[in-house]
């Protein structure tokens, strides 16, 4: 029967992405997989799609062991994937996109007319009014998403897997997608639907499986549960690792160090107003695609706001580049340390010294001072490395992250913006990074931290703002907020302030 996951384990380095996930999906049902970021949803899908292999455990598909060796292998076994990032070739036509990799040939030549005819047939089936010859780049986001569904259908897929398919769709577009999916399910296609938007899940799916921290929590019949039950299952830690030692509030003051007034960068950031006081840690909770990173990048001068204003210590500022922002005392610790934070052609000393020395406009590299500072930072931040001349790739993820945070903190900024400060970091390093951030705030720095990690936001922030679809949904006092109230704000359509 159906699709069975049996004790699936997968780890990447020291991170356990999946820890013994077991559940099954019945033939012909619409089955949702939900969970917080990092719960293991994507990893599970990647295993099913043949992109990565499980360390142990097996998938059974129609009672036979199924271990796809490549995405092509998975497709040939009837698993159709619709990815979040909308993989399509913008320069190719709709029919070329659909048949890419499995073109129909006659006498060794492409049979354009056969491919066009079959494309037309599948488009009709999805009641899509698209020209098979139109280039994919001329399609709307929704149609591109549906193009992937069409592609899966032409390969006779029996399980259609969708990963956050509505992230970039409007409500009307999403409605059309749901109509299509319901029709497909009626025709017997099994649907595996991954999303963190619970209202959608409740509209579409028969059963819901919840994953948390790489583990299976439970499978629920949609008809028998409420949204709140699912939210509880998603976050469901009993103890909140709320910082035992709440910070002293001495350094805090009411005057805003950073103040945003109706700041927009359309279409991703919409009319965000907030303030961060001296010594205060404000947390923004938002899921992937909520515009949280874009908000920080707009403050940091990477993007220009389309309207609204930024004020630092009461003076309106505008930054043309991160350099401008950093010179004014606003710095950003970016989300992706590999891509945005570290130089692998430099040793730790250079990595730690660059932002500070660049901002000071020194002419010469002052190696002796930098070595001394780097030694001190390694000690103060407890960065485990063979020395200041170690290359960053010899460090663990947690220690790399400490380097990225430390290099900015050492410039003594007024405002510290942090984007997912402990992403992919082990628990010990996470705790240490939190401690160091608190210490900076206690010394008067204004801290704005964005995270999709609920316990992190709850442990770190004095006030919690929830962001969804580019706008702030509401504010919660960290003292009274719970994981459920935060998640509720982040996933629900109606605003409950």
């Amino acid at each position: 029967m159906g699709l069975q996951f049996d004790r699936i384990h997968k780890s990447f380095g020291a991170v356990n992405a999946l820890r013994g996930v077991t559940f099954d999906v019945a033939d012909g049902e619409a089955h949702a997989i939900v969970g917080e970021n990092g719960a293991g949803k994507s990893t599970l899908l990647k295993i099913l799609a043949g992109l990565v292999r499980a360390d142990s455990g097996e998938i059974k598909w129609q009672d036979r062991t199924f271990a796809p060796s490549s995405p092509r292998d998975a497709i040939e076994h009837g698993i159709g994937m619709v990815y979040q990032e909308m993989l399509c070739f913008p320069n190719l036509s709709v029919s070329a996109n659909i048949f890419c990799g499995r073109e129909i040939c006659r006498y060794g030549k492409l049979d354009e007319s056969a491919m066009r005819a079959r494309t037309q047939a599948v488009l009709d089936r999805l009641s899509l009014k698209i020209d098979p010859d139109a280039p994919a780049e001329s399609l709307s986001a929704a149609h591109r998403q549906l193009l992937q569904v069409a592609r899966a259908l032409t390969f006779d897929c029996r399980v259609l897997v969708l990963d956050e398919p509505t992230t970039s769709l409007t409500d009307a577009e999403a409605d059309h997608l749901f109509d299509v999916l319901r029709a497909l399910r009626k025709a017997g296609t099994t649907i595996l639907y991954v999303s963190h938007r619970l209202p959608e899940v409740f509209r579409l799916c028969d059963r819901i499986t919840v994953l948390r921290d790489g583990q299976y929590v439970g499978t629920y019949n949609t008809a028998e549960v409420q949204t709140s039950d699912i939210v509880k299952a998603m976050v469901g830690r009993d103890i909140r690792a709320r910082s035992e030692a709440r910070r002293s509030t001495e350094a805090r003051s009411t005057e805003a160090t950073l103040q945003l007034t109706r700041l927009s960068r359309l279409p991703v950031v919409r009319e965000v107003s907030l303030s961060v006081g001296r010594g205060e840690i404000v947390g923004i909770f938002g899921l992937v695609g909520s515009g949280r990173s874009e908000l920080l990048e707009t403050i940091f001068g990477l993007h220009q706001p389309t309207s609204g204003s930024i004020a630092l210590d009461g003076n309106t500022v505008s930054f043309r580049s991160p350099r401008d922002a950093a010179r004014a005392g606003i710095v950003l610790v970016p989300e992706e340390r590999h891509r945005q934070g570290l130089w692998f052609n430099f040793d730790l000393r250079n990595n730690l010294a660059i932002p500070g020395s660049t901002l000071k406009d020194d002419l010469l590299v002052r190696a002796d001072v930098e070595c001394r500072d780097a030694e001190r930072t390694l000690g103060e931040w407890r960065i485990k490395a063979s020395g200041i001349d170690a290359p960053p790739d010899s460090l663990s993820g947690g220690n790399q992250q400490k380097v990225v945070v430390a290099k900015w903190v050492s410039t003594r900024p007024r405002v510290l913006l942090l984007d997912e400060p402990t992403k992919g970091v082990d628990v010990g390093a996470k705790f240490e990074i939190h401690e160091l951030i608190r210490k900076q705030a206690a010394e008067g720095m204004a801290v704005l931290v964005v995270s999709s990690d609920l316990p992190e936001i709850l442990a770190l922030a004095d006030r919690i703002l929830v962001m969804k679809e580019g706008a702030l949904q509401g504010e919660l006092d960290a003292a009274t907020a719970t994981e459920e109230t935060v998640m509720h704000l982040a996933t629900h359509d109606e605003v409950t302030a």
């Binding site: 580049s321 350099r323 934070g341 130089w343 430099f346 660049t358 590299v365 001349d389």
Partner: protein, 319 residues
């Protein structure tokens, strides 16, 4: 990493010495006859002609370390040579202002390249390919196929700044190499070049003025190429439009053989200069081997591949 860099430069020196020893042994003459390769006159000849590549290779190394590429140096050498030759011979200018005009050509072509790369955001390969065509084209338009006989206009026994004319090119090369070695290793500017080549996004997020640094890199490459062009014209005594044809690839190869990574973030100016010497020795010695005349291009190509593969193996072991 510092240790590795030192090893890397030493290994380039080692290759150069090994190469010299090999040709010294292979071309060892019969008793009583002068060595055709291992003599002071030939050494100066090698230095003299390698230096033209070497001066431009200093700039090429800086560009490559920044993660870019410059295809224009050969053409810029020709244009600046032609312009200073034209001013000396046709316009009867004296030597110093003509040379300054030639250097200005290099700066201008570098500025044009920067404009295309930094402001218009063309990929460096395309931008410099275009600038290469433009500069070479202007050189042909100016000369209309003629050449300017600069040698006739130089004072007999001319010693610019007291330097014998044969030594002009090598001394210029070593001075430039020294200046830029220090700039690249001891100055914030040099570290910014390395940081942009190593991870441009991280550089942007760290407040490095990427546009300014990138622009400076291409202007420097243009300036050094024009310096090479002027020196070439003075040494060779001729300014013509097909000077230095195809040099750009040899210059890039020299920088790469000297340890620069085309992925950016790695390499050294001294290494690039040593790279040009490795090629200079090959170009000088191979034609002296009986029957090898037609093999020199092939051997040069093989040497590039062998040295870069060795470099990668060494890098892997270092990790």
């Amino acid at each position: 990493m510092k240790r590795f860099r030192a090893i890397r430069e030493l290994s380039t020196v080692a290759i150069l010495i090994a190469e010299i020893l090999f040709f010294a042994w292979y071309l060892w003459p019969e008793a009583g006859r002068a060595h055709p390769f291992l003599n002071a006159e030939n050494a100066l000849l090698i230095l003299k002609y390698s230096s033209i590549y070497g001066i431009a290779a200093v700039g090429a190394a800086v560009v490559i370390i920044s993660g870019g590429i410059d295809l224009a140096p050969g053409a810029v050498i020709a244009l600046s040579g032609v312009v200073s030759g034209y001013l000396i011979v046709v316009q009867q200018w004296s030597i110093a202002p003509s040379m300054i005009a030639g250097l200005l050509i290099g700066v201008l072509s570098g500025l044009l390249t920067s404009l295309l790369i930094v402001n218009i955001k063309l990929p460096p390969f395309i931008a410099t390919l275009g600038v290469m065509g433009i500069t070479r084209g202007i050189a042909f338009i100016i000369t209309e196929g003629q050449y300017y006989d600069v040698s006739g206009r130089l004072p007999p026994g001319w010693h610019p700044l007291g330097i014998p004319i044969d030594w002009l090119a090598p001394i210029t090369m070593f001075v430039m190499a020294l200046i830029f070695q220090v700039l690249m290793t001891r100055f914030q500017w040099g570290r910014a070049v390395f940081s942009i080549g190593g991870n441009e996004t991280a550089a942007l997020f760290s407040g490095i003025a990427i546009g300014r640094v990138k622009a400076s890199v291409y202007v420097i490459s243009g300036l050094l190429a024009s310096l090479a062009g002027i020196v070439l014209v003075l040494v060779q005594g001729q300014g013509k439009a097909d000077l230095a044809t195809g040099y750009e690839l040899d210059i890039i190869a020299s920088a790469v053989v000297g340890g620069a990574s085309l992925a950016g973030g790695r390499g050294s100016v001294m290494g690039a200069v040593l790279g040009t010497l490795i090629f200079g020795v090959l170009r000088n010695a191979l034609p002296q081997i009986p029957g090898a005349t037609f093999y020199d291009r092939l051997i040069v190509g093989l040497v590039v591949i062998v040295i870069v593969v060795m470099d990668q193996l060494l890098l892997k072991r270092g990790k």
